[in-house]
């Protein structure tokens, strides 16, 4: 039998496009990052991706204490997407500080640490503990968790609650670490939330988080997920994500945007850049293709070159012209 095994990327070409970008004040060599919760804390991707070549590893949202996450089933496949109800399973900040961050730092990989909590003080304490930690490039504040002090309403759905969290984090976070607020699309007016958090000191905006969804099993006639509802992600949400990036860039052209939601190819990433994102995260596509983050980088470079851009920076927001 003739055995043929071809590399997934095929050949690698070099393009003359300058892909450097910045997350807030910090320069990164690539605009393509992982998305929180879709690459664990990076180690499992090592066989597939050069972690030092990508923009940064955005770590799974970490909380103060270890969390088991929700019961299974935690996942349902949907057309061009999936629902998840993981429930932020993770080792807690102690585990992240003792194991995952040193591992990434040793390799020279940049970590953009996603933090989550259920009260404002949780976020502030996490930001405090991440001050000056080697390899930590910045913080992504996941405000899509329920606020225990406000009848479980999600922080990101309320401009006041969202800005409370961001100003508390910005006040104590390492000044060298940019703070990005991660917004939810499940709001009436995402621009007002974006404005509230930038006024509160956010150095950038990550958007979007998952949309709340539901799947019912026609056989059992019950919701599929252990957590009943779950977060919808993948290419199915790309038009919604792109619309959010467009609207926010239109209203706040100076606010750096880390765009995400259904990015699977370089052309998908290009759309986010043209809409106003200066960096992108690849999430669910990693489950389909573990080398997706590196592939999207290469494809984005090619797409920019083909369109005559000499640098990524020139293309940011280009669709608004």
């Amino acid at each position: 039998m003739t055995a043929t095994e071809t590399g997934v990327h095929g050949h690698k070409r070099r393009f003359e496009v300058d892909l450097r970008t910045a997350l807030g004040s910090v320069e990164v060599p690539s605009p393509v990052l992982t998305a929180s919760g879709c690459s664990a804390n990076g180690a499992e991707l090592e066989p597939f991706v050069d972690l030092t070549a990508i923009g940064a590893v955005v770590t799974k949202s970490v909380q103060l204490r270890p969390r088991s996450g929700r019961p299974t089933p935690r996942m349902a496949e949907t057309p061009s997407g999936m629902l998840n109800s993981i429930g932020l399973q993770g080792p807690g900040i102690d585990g992240l500080l003792s194991d995952d961050l040193p591992w990434l730092a040793e390799r020279g990989a940049r970590a953009f640490v996603s933090i989550a909590g259920t009260r404002v003080e949780d976020f502030a304490e996490l930001a405090q503990r991440l001050r000056g930690v080697p390899g930590v490039l910045g913080l992504e504040v996941n405000i899509s968790c329920p606020n225990v002090e406000s009848r479980g309403e999600v922080f990101a759905c309320d401009p006041v609650a969202a800005s409370d969290v961001v100003s508390a984090v910005r006040a104590v976070a390492d000044p060298a670490q940019p703070v990005y607020a991660k917004l939810s699309p499940d709001v009436t007016d995402i621009v007002s939330v974006a404005r509230a958090v930038t006024d509160a000191g956010a150095d950038g905006l990550s958007m979007i988080n998952t949309l709340l969804g539901l799947v019912i099993d026609p056989d059992t006639m019950r919701p599929v997920l252990g957590g009943v509802t779950g977060g919808l992600s993948g290419p199915a949400i790309r038009p919604v994500a792109l619309r959010c990036v467009w609207q926010v860039h239109q209203a706040l052209p100076e606010a750096p945007i880390l765009g995400m939601g259904g990015i699977r190819s370089g052309l998908d990433a290009l759309q986010f850049v043209l809409a106003g994102a200066s960096a992108v995260s690849v999430g669910t596509a990693v489950f389909n293709d573990p080398s997706a983050v590196a592939r999207v980088h290469d494809e984005l470079a090619a797409a920019l070159a083909q369109r005559g851009f000499a640098s990524l920076r020139e293309a940011v927001g280009y669709a608004h012209r």
């Binding site: 055995a3 499992e44 088991s68 999936m82 993981i86 252990g226």
Partner: protein, 302 residues
């Protein structure tokens, strides 16, 4: 259920050690289908995948992208490795839903994107230990590599292979070349009528270690029988997986760790092979209070 002294006593006396980490990291390759053959109700695919074949250890699996590059089916399908050698890997696929049906339709010469080998192997017993391997449905295929390895290590192997009906059996002849095989079917259409567990009960006294692959209910029954007989058992679980490589946290099961504490462990990277006495089968799909981190979810001790 757990938390009571009787169960604590059992967890204190675990018979199994966690399965070892794989010796080699996985690779992602686009490979050619080199062979395709229907086996009963299933389809066996042979892939020309030398790097995966070289690295594969018994108990590991591969994960396929399905539906083509622009498919709306985003999640990989995990399939146990049946055999690996001479540059080829074979798998046995049951057409259950759209993803696995697409796989069974691949023809010789088609290419597929596959990641593997993934997960952890079945641990080997001390040399010469008589072993029982128990397969349910297409799960029997996943025991071929293990059975060969046990034979090579001087272990006499007994195999119990069961399925609902005759056409849902697989790998019976291949296992027969390596071991003494007992076949059971629920409807009696082949071998003895009854469940695999009935046959297991009659032979378990003759062995020193038990291995299983098949549906969850069967794994639980086999693990319980082994533990009751004072024998270590290792089971390969099949939990819903989105990524197969350990990054998404969808595939977790409540597993008792070496320190006696239960964690939600990923079946793709900490498994799919777990000690049968470490899986808390009764708590699958639940969030028991004594799982590490359950307190942060607001679950309190009863």
């Amino acid at each position: 259920m757990t938390g009571d002294p009787a169960v604590m006593a059992i967890t204190a006396a675990l018979l199994t050690r966690p399965a070892p980490r794989a010796a080699h990291p996985p690779v992602q390759r686009v490979v050619e289908v080199a062979g395709r053959r229907p086996v009963g109700a299933y389809v066996e695919l042979t892939l020309a995948a030398p790097e995966i074949a070289e690295r594969a250890e018994p108990g590991q699996f591969v994960a396929f992208a399905v539906g083509g590059e622009t498919s709306g089916l985003l999640l990989r399908r995990s399939i146990a490795i049946a055999t690996a050698g001479d540059g080829e890997v074979s798998v046995v696929v049951s057409a259950a839903g759209p993803g696995s049906t697409w796989l069974t339709e691949r023809q010789v010469g088609d290419t597929v994107d596959v990641v593997g080998p993934l997960g952890r192997r079945y641990p080997m017993p001390p040399r010469g230990t008589p072993a029982l391997v128990v397969g349910g449905g297409y799960g029997s295929a996943a025991l071929l590599g293990l059975t060969a390895a046990l034979r090579d290590a001087g272990s006499p192997v007994l195999a119990v292979v069961g399925a609902a009906t005759a056409d849902r059996l697989c790998s019976v002849d291949e296992l027969g070349a390596l071991a003494e095989v007992v076949v059971t079917t629920d409807d009696g259409s082949a071998g003895r009528q009854g469940w695999v567990t009935d046959a297991v009960a009659t032979v378990i006294g003759q062995v020193g270690v038990v291995y299983a692959c098949g549906p969850m209910g069967m794994l639980r029954a086999v693990a319980d029988a082994a533990t009751a007989a004072g024998l270590p058992s290792y089971v390969a679980v099949e939990e819903s997986m989105a990524c197969g490589i350990g990054v998404c946290m969808t595939c977790v099961l409540p597993i008792v760790g070496e320190d006696g504490r239960t964690r939600f462990s990923r079946s793709c990277t900490e498994g799919p092979v777990f000690g049968g006495d470490r899986v808390r089968f009764a708590d699958v799909g639940a969030l028991p209070w004594d799982v590490v981190g359950a307190d942060a979810m607001g679950v309190v001790a009863p």
